[in-house]
Subunit: 242 residues, 2 copies
Amino acid sequence: MHHMSESLSINNSSRSAIVLLSGGLDSATTLAIAVNQGFTCHALSFDYGQRHDVELECAKRIADQLGAASHQTISLNLRDFGGSALTDDIDVPKNRDESQMVEDEIPVTYVPARNTIFLSYALALGEIKGCGDIFIGVNAVDYSGYPDCRPAFIHAFEKMANLATKAGVNGKQLTIHTPLIQLPKTDIIERGLKLGVDYGLTHSCYDPDDQGRACGCCDSCILRKNAFEQLGTKDPVLSHLD
Amino acid sequence: MHHMSESLSINNSSRSAIVLLSGGLDSATTLAIAVNQGFTCHALSFDYGQRHDVELECAKRIADQLGAASHQTISLNLRDFGGSALTDDIDVPKNRDESQMVEDEIPVTYVPARNTIFLSYALALGEIKGCGDIFIGVNAVDYSGYPDCRPAFIHAFEKMANLATKAGVNGKQLTIHTPLIQLPKTDIIERGLKLGVDYGLTHSCYDPDDQGRACGCCDSCILRKNAFEQLGTKDPVLSHLD
């Protein structure tokens, strides 16, 4: 009882966090959760030469809508490196059903070391801003094919991060928060809707049209479309396809 | 005996490695060691808004001199983040003796999460090029004040890296090589001289003059100057101060 009241009395309002914000459904929900937990949130996005760079505009609008204290976009050069359908001229798979997005296969849309690089920047920004908390919307359920979305990776990164920085050296713990890591897409959307996320502002499509609108048939579109349907509603970003 | 001949027969000539190359004395020596071990070396440098960006020109010349198969410079945006004397307008300490560069103090020239970010890019490039070997010239003797130069950090990064990538998932081990980590500066220079490193091409100074020449009195200049003197010779980059 005493323990419980202590745990309820935790107030994060004086604490700030770095929140990785891609502009997609998962990261928007993650930002809403971090804000709801009382953190002052510094949203961090990356321009890494992704073909779906409309998501960066979305990230900005989502940061505003959800009340992030700041939003910063860092330009990377992953396109120079190549090696992924998201940055290279490899075809994005279309019209697969969820059973084809199998667990032990790594999708061609995988970007090498992407989350490692993103988290490393979050670590740097966190150290400068004095934040001991980083939020990332990785999910091990829908995308377990990505090695850098698994809990074991996140734990290893957290351990490394605590050895990498002054904060770690000085005994201040750095925590990587992954509030979505074990949630099915339907639960993520339900939570986000309760917290007021406007999913019409989000972008998840790997292959948008010239106007930046979702294609409705890449793996990413299908996963969210199915989840909205299971919740008895429709994905607001697919209304142009009705 | 049998074991020894096996170990001597290791031929790395079909293996390629990513070598982080700043253009300084340590990374030049590291590249020479990797080349000498038979690796096809892809050198990787970073333009991170450092005030001593003359080192990037040096890196290019060193990569050529030592026979790297390729050399790539990636632009980062650490200057946007601020927080270090190397990228901010904080004064670089001058004329300190080595006892003042104490072990448990983190120098103001520390760049937050720098090696974490550099190694993350090396990881991405290594995955694309199919390299399971990354070389970094960190040293825990002279710069133990930097948290991300310690063996514990390197081990934790290696563990994380093996969980982060397809290679790790597929059971192919990724190795972070730190051939200098326990060597005093004099030993590093001796090794490099034997391997033909032209230290006149290297640049380590934190605060070079308008012509890019070493100041001779920042911590970095003093450490190498003392080491060359202990070896009974002179640091070739300080000849303009004679």
